[in-house]
Amino acid sequence: MINRIIRQIQRYKGWFGGGAALCIFLGLYIGLLASPPDYYQGELVRIMYVHVPLAHTSTLAYSVLFFGSIWYLWKRDPLVDNMCQASASICALFTSLALITGSIWAKPTWNTWWTWDPRLVSFTVLLLILGGYIMLRRLVDDPVQGGRYAAILAIVGGIDLPIIKFSVEWWRTLHQPMSFSTRGVSISEDILVPLTLMSIGCWLLFAYMVMVRTQILYLTDLLHAKKGRFLSQTHFSQTTP
């Protein structure tokens, strides 16, 4: 008896996947090949077409995790728990990619792989929180209890992340008066089109990946439940001569 939502995922996920592929392909083509280089940054600005959408999507993914966790603690729907688990790992993926592409952009621009930029630090802390989330789920034996604990972590993390961002921003204005900003790119019309395409593409890609992963998790749980045996029956049949 497969959940109604899973059936709908099965039916519509292809559209999301296709849409994602289309937007990303177009966005990359225009961004990497067809559009002119930036006046100040030259070819380097092209990394922004990848980095900025990844960062946005990572924030979107965490929002999904945050609200999903609140919903799960309220309604205890196992499908919502599967979705949270899926969102967390995919958010970790997007966050890592955002950090890597940000670092690749930073090296030629500021001649450093790493800087105490508030967004970079916030994303790193986000990655640490997600790492903790994934470890937590692995270390709890009872999946229901694990889902509950993970939801608590996600909620506390979600409330904390804006505060972390503020505190790092304040700290940075104190210690680095010559502030660099990742907002150094001025938005001109040429940049807007591929950027928007890539953003939409990444959102669609995220939606597609979460749908597929949620479906896999849900069906795996269902399969295990159907295969389940009574503990005592197995044990009992082993002890009687």
């Binding site: 929180i129 903790g132 608590i152 409330i159 505060i163 304040w170 700290w171 104190l174």
Partner: protein, 225 residues
Amino acid sequence: MPFFKTIRWVVWKDLISEWRTRETMSSMLFFALIVILVFSFSFSMDQDAARQLIAGIIWVAFTFTGIIGLGKSFTSELQNDCLESLQMCPAPKGAIYLGKVAANFLFMLSVEILLFPLFVLFFNLDVIEAVGTLLIIFFLATLGLSSVGTLFSALTVQIRAREVMLPVLLLPLAVPVMIAAVEATRGALSGDPFSFYSQWIQLLIIFDIIFTVVSFWLFEFILDS
């Protein structure tokens, strides 16, 4: 009211148990002493460098020491299945949370107050005017660490690898407290006027309020399934 009585009982029980063994506090003090020594060996510092780094060293020492105390707060309930008796308490679980936060806060603050003179000694700090402000900073930052720390101590006590998971989960979330505490301490120790670093004190107050309330609500879901 049973709610406040429960808080009182939990605090009483933790304080009396600790008073009779002094186990937690002595391990915290000993650990902190080692941390201070290691730091003073690792950084060969002149006066200027010391003043830059000391605030950070203090809070690294306090935080890691605090994590020891936070961990023991709930692992001590594992003996004889005492966690079950807390679960079966008819009062709202938030009362147990507040009681534990109060006890942890008192332990951590006591260790900090005992340790601070050692910092003054080892690193030649000039603190006479700043004592009042420093106490306020210690109070607020310790409350912030206790509020989130107690929540995660209860959360990690029933999972595998609990000693590792408590710092892994807590430290990223405690980043605002760390930053604010270090900046405020540095400001107070450098003799800066209060307005220079009052924003950090405000941040600590906001953090404390938000996370005590949030953890109070969420604690219910840890003990109860």
